[in-house]
């Protein structure tokens, strides 16, 4: 993100560079939850986000396709579970997205 003094004309064209994979509310919610835990299973994310099974599957597939979420079989106790975790790329892009959005929101608030 380009550095800009607050008194300068705001560059709203940055909005076009927003990561659209993360910008979707359901995916943002999933990534936010995954960023605060090491890993979680499908049911946990469904309960926390309030998304339906179909919605979850759809958005998780998108996130996995983009390399933001990793799906692994892990042993919890003695039983294998499909656990989901955020990847380094996902974490980095989420932070970048939040930084950009924060900057843009601040800039828009200043305009009023």
């Amino acid at each position: 993100m380009k550095s800009r003094k607050r008194t300068d004309t705001p560059d709203l064209s940055q909005l076009l560079d927003i990561d659209r994979i993360i910008h979707e509310p359901a995916r943002l919610m999933i990534l936010a939850y995954l960023s605060v835990v090491e890993s979680a299973n499908f049911i946990f994310l469904m309960n926390q986000t309030g998304l339906t099974q179909g919605n979850m599957s759809f958005h998780l597939a998108k996130l996995e396709e983009s390399g933001y979420v990793a799906i692994k079989k892990q042993f919890v106790g003695k039983r294998p579970h499909t656990m989901l975790s955020i990847t380094d790329k996902g974490n980095k892009n989420l932070k970048e997205y939040l930084k950009t959005m924060k900057g843009l929101i601040e800039c828009l608030v200043d305009l009023r």
Binding site: V36, N41, L45, S57, G77
Partner: protein, 216 residues
């Protein structure tokens, strides 16, 4: 602000595991195990059974509580609420809780042996034995710290209930003519914990039905 909201999100996720009421029932049963032999003794019921009963009753209640806790968390909570591995900060906090509980057990064992060999005075004018006072203070401190590390608000209240139950029972016995003080005290400390736990448990079962996913 960003950090704060993520912290709150993690806290919310972790605290969702207290919605099942299993901790409440578990702690209620543990507290009840302290009081039940005394209550039975008050009603003269222990006279009719063997001398081992005062030990067997709390032991069996403790084992029952532990079984309920493990089985409940594994077969009721996990399939409904899901499985999660928390991050480093939470793991560190939970390690603090484990350490605190280990210290608590150690203090308990030391106090027990000190009172067994009569190193500790039995009690003063209040009628509350010194080992009971030590037990109450350490339970209050350990449970309150555990509540802090676990972000488990109800545990602060339970720490208080655990801490007051035994000293108040002994004090009432010595200083009042109240009939069955143990029954009254434990009805006002352990029973509310069990009721809260049970209500939470029933609510949890209704709110989180078992979900069938492709994984399960």
């Amino acid at each position: 602000m960003e950090q704060l909201s993520f912290k709150a999100l993690e806290k919310k996720a972790f605290r969702s595991f207290f919605k099942d009421g299993i901790y409440d029932v578990f702690l209620g049963l543990i507290l009840l195990s302290f009081g039940l032999p005394l209550i039975l003794n008050e009603f003269g019921l222990l006279d009719y059974v063997t001398i081992k009963m005062p030990l067997l009753i709390p032991l069996s209640l403790n084992i029952g509580a532990l079984v309920f806790f493990i089985v409940g968390k594994k077969y009721i909570t996990a399939p409904r609420l899901g499985i999660v591995r928390f991050g480093k900060t939470r793991k560190r906090k939970m390690m603090h809780v484990k350490l605190l509980l280990a210290i608590s057990v150690l203090i308990g064992v030391i106090t027990f042996f000190l009172s067994l060999f009569k190193v500790l005075p039995v009690g003063g004018k209040t009628g509350v034995p010194i080992p009971i006072i030590i037990f109450s203070i350490q339970v209050l401190i350990v449970f309150s710290l555990a509540a802090y590390f676990m972000d488990f608000t109800r545990l602060y209240l339970y720490a208080f209930l655990f801490a007051v139950s035994m000293p108040v029972t002994f004090w009432l016995k010595k200083n009042t003519v109240m009939t069955h003080p143990t029954l009254w005290v434990f009805s006002l400390t352990a029973v509310p914990m069990l009721i809260v736990g049970w209500i939470q448990f029933v609510r949890f079962l209704r709110q989180y039905p078992r979900k069938e996913t492709a994984e399960s």
